[in-house]
Amino acid sequence: MSRLPFYLLVGVLFLAGVAMTLHRHYQLEVPWTPGEQRQVWEVEAQVNFTALGEPVLVDMALPSSQEGFRLLTEHTASPGFGLSFIEKDEARRAQWSIREASGSQQLYYTAQVLRAPSNPPPRLASPPPQRDIVWERPYDTAAAQLIERAWSRSADPFTFARELLHDFDEERQGENARLLLTQFERTPLLVRLLNQADVRAREVSGLRLEDGRRRQSLSSWVQVFDGEQWALFDPATGAQGRPDNLLIWEGNGQAVLEVEGGTNSRVNFSMIARNQPAAAAVRNQLADDTLLNFSIHSLPLEEQALFQTILLIPIGALVVVLLRILVGIKTSGTFMPVLIALAFIQTSLATGLIGFLLVVSVGLVIRSYLSYLNLLLVARVTAVIITVIGIISVFSVLAYRFGLNAGLTITFFPMIILAWTIERMSILWEEEGPKEVLIQGGGSLFTAVLAFLAMNNPWVRHITFNFLGVQLILMALILMIGNYTGYRLLELRRFKPVTEE
């Protein structure tokens, strides 16, 4: 029997798990640790215009996830207006419409944007088509000279753009630049000159994020394409590169705001930054990312909380597997310790341990009486279950009376499991004596405590909940351990005498 398919399966599971995990970390910005803080910007765009009493169509550009930022959620407030989001050629736009409106109007759009330094730039948009550029006299010569000058001092589109922008610098402006600026606006002019020199470029609008700012407007930037990459240039200074706090609002060379049926239209922005724990920021993400993200994170919050616990169970089970196969610890009931550990999560460790020992030892005493009654097994275990419920109720009431509210959490113990534990321990006691009870009971409790420590670790909780791929990795790991033929740790002591002679 070849083991190849087995190792193949393990390898596939492992790689798939790693890939899913890395995908969630790098694509979706889920951090490795729960404590990491993420900056979330809340940006509000307010559109103002005066309606003319006729049908109104407002068309505004919207930001998308981009290099450095990830769009989390968005809302609009626009009473009475119809609204649709339109996505075309990578440009996202909102269209508000109304049959009739007059007077001053306000429309609001709010976006939550996550600061995500490693968010990759979006896939390359196709560069805009070149238009034939026609200049009037005398601007044509000025333009030609400027291009000529920059061309001779540059090597590629980016250096060309840099040289060209240099010549429009406030201090170094020459005659030609000054002449052109009297007739054209700076950014469209620069784009026009670049295009004329066969350099693909476009004007984009960006918002500088500064905490607590209000009534901000967009600034225009020149984006240059060198055949492979886009680069951003500041038209005022000629500096190349995107400032960290620049959110590109409109990146396709289109108008930011177009209003039909209204005048005096303008849009301004206010923004605040909040620091959120990374996990919370992740939770706010739009759940439409990719197939890999069809996950439980798209469930309602309450169901997600349930899954948070369910996804921890494999960790507890892994602890059991490790302790049984690699260490050789005996437990009473294979996965009973995991269930006890789950109860510890609700009760806290100290209360849980004390509660467990109290319930089991009182249960054992009562069970030893039951064994005189000569009952059938099912009936006896049922009697033990009722006894356990009784003990738990008594302890809860006592704890409450003494003001020990922690004692109330004892009700989280899985009662049927406790009853079976008591039943097994008691048989063990009769059959093999108290020593074996101590060994197996102690082993179970030790395993439960370790499982609890593993499952209650904030980092483990974060990883298991946010990276479903980890489940596949765990699966691969457990399959591998299931294949382990070496010695168990405790066997090194058990078989010691054989090696002595």
Binding site: L376, N483, T485, R488, E491, L492, R494, F495, K496
Partner: protein
């Protein structure tokens, strides 16, 4: 290093650990489908009858709570008997009754039980208290084995049994298990019975262990263990080797007993035999299993026994210890 040894030393001795036993031998050579044949002592008994392998006589079975009420009738003609769960293991739920005195049932330890104590025990067996997975079970009532007089000095209050590991039909290792006060008339090692490794060639003692630690004498009788020699040894090995054909299980623990009148008998079979036998023999199973694995299939039981006796012969360590 005190209590601990290293994996290197263990594998140099050829010791097999739990994980290796489970994956490499039980997992590979024991087909799960065949487990019920050995996990159910009643089935084993019936099967053994077909293969003409002797087992202790079956007095009767109790399979319903109603049947428990008629236990008295069943037991009335018996002077000694054993009640055990058909699907029990490790000595759990086994009740050995030596004799009956004035309506009381006397255990080997001398403890007395009333009929209702026995009934309760049987009722517990039926509800699965002692059985694998807690499933409802059947109680077997078996004739008490009158064990060979020559061995009585070595044991205390119970029938010693002989565990032979049979791998692919070859007896590979053997030990005798002597019951002690601690093990309450049952010869199961983890309950405190003494294990004495036996030379496969001769059936004589090699060394003894109790609770996984070396012993040279019986803890209760104080009798030294070295002089232990099993009568009728080749017959016993042949019987054990035949269990391979009977069950089809490749890695098998056979529990044999020696009856005064009927000679070697099969007590029960085990699909997951324990590893303590290595301690009792002071040697790991690995080398022997490897050797057997290299042997061809289709060899007769007689030839297999001869092969084992030739290849797995040992010189007694107790002899050297006693001589020194």
């Amino acid at each position: 290093m005190g209590e601990w040894t290293t994996p290197g030393k263990l594998s140099a001795k050829g010791i097999i650990g739990m994980n290796r036993r489970n994956i490499r031998y039980i997992g590979r050579y024991n087909n799960r489908r065949l487990y019920p044949l050995v996990d159910d002592k009643l089935q084993t008994k019936l099967l053994a009858e077909r293969y003409e392998i002797t087992t202790p006589a079956l007095i009767g079975t109790v399979s319903t709570q109603f049947g428990v009420k008629r236990l008295g009738e069943l037991l009335a003609p018996q002077s000694g008997f054993v009640i055990k769960p058909a699907k029990g293991s490790g000595g759990k739920g086994i009740l050995v009754v030596d004799r009956v005195e004035g309506g009381d049932y006397i255990k080997p330890s001398g403890a007395r039980m009333s009929l209702s104590d026995v009934e309760r025990h049987v009722s517990n067996i039926l509800s699965g208290l002692y059985s694998l997975g807690g499933a409802p079970d059947v109680a077997l009532v078996e004739a008490l084995i009158n064990f060979d007089e020559s061995l009585s000095a070595y044991t205390y209050e119970g029938v010693p049994d002989i565990r032979v590991i049979v791998f692919k039909g070859y007896p590979v290792m053997a030990m005798m298990r002597l019951s002690t006060a601690a093990s309450d008339g049952k010869a199961n090692l983890h309950q405190g019975a003494v294990g004495v490794g036996l030379d496969i060639a001769t059936g004589t003692a090699i060394r003894g262990v109790q609770f996984d630690r070396t012993r040279h004498d019986h803890p209760d009788t104080g009798h030294e263990l070295i002089s232990l020699a099993i009568p009728d040894w080749p017959t016993l090995l042949l019987l054990a080797a035949g269990c391979y054909e009977m069950t089809g299980l490749g890695y098998l623990g056979t529990d044999m007993v020696l009856d005064r009148d009927q000679g070697p008998m099969l007590l029960e079979l085990n699909a997951r035999p324990g590893l303590a036998i290595q301690m009792a023999n002071g040697e790991g199973l690995r080398r022997r299993l490897d050797l057997v694995e290299a042997q061809p299939e289709g060899v007769s039981p007689e030839e297999r026994v001869a092969f084992s006796r030739r290849h797995f012969a040992r010189r007694s360590e107790l002899a050297t210890a006693a001589g020194a």
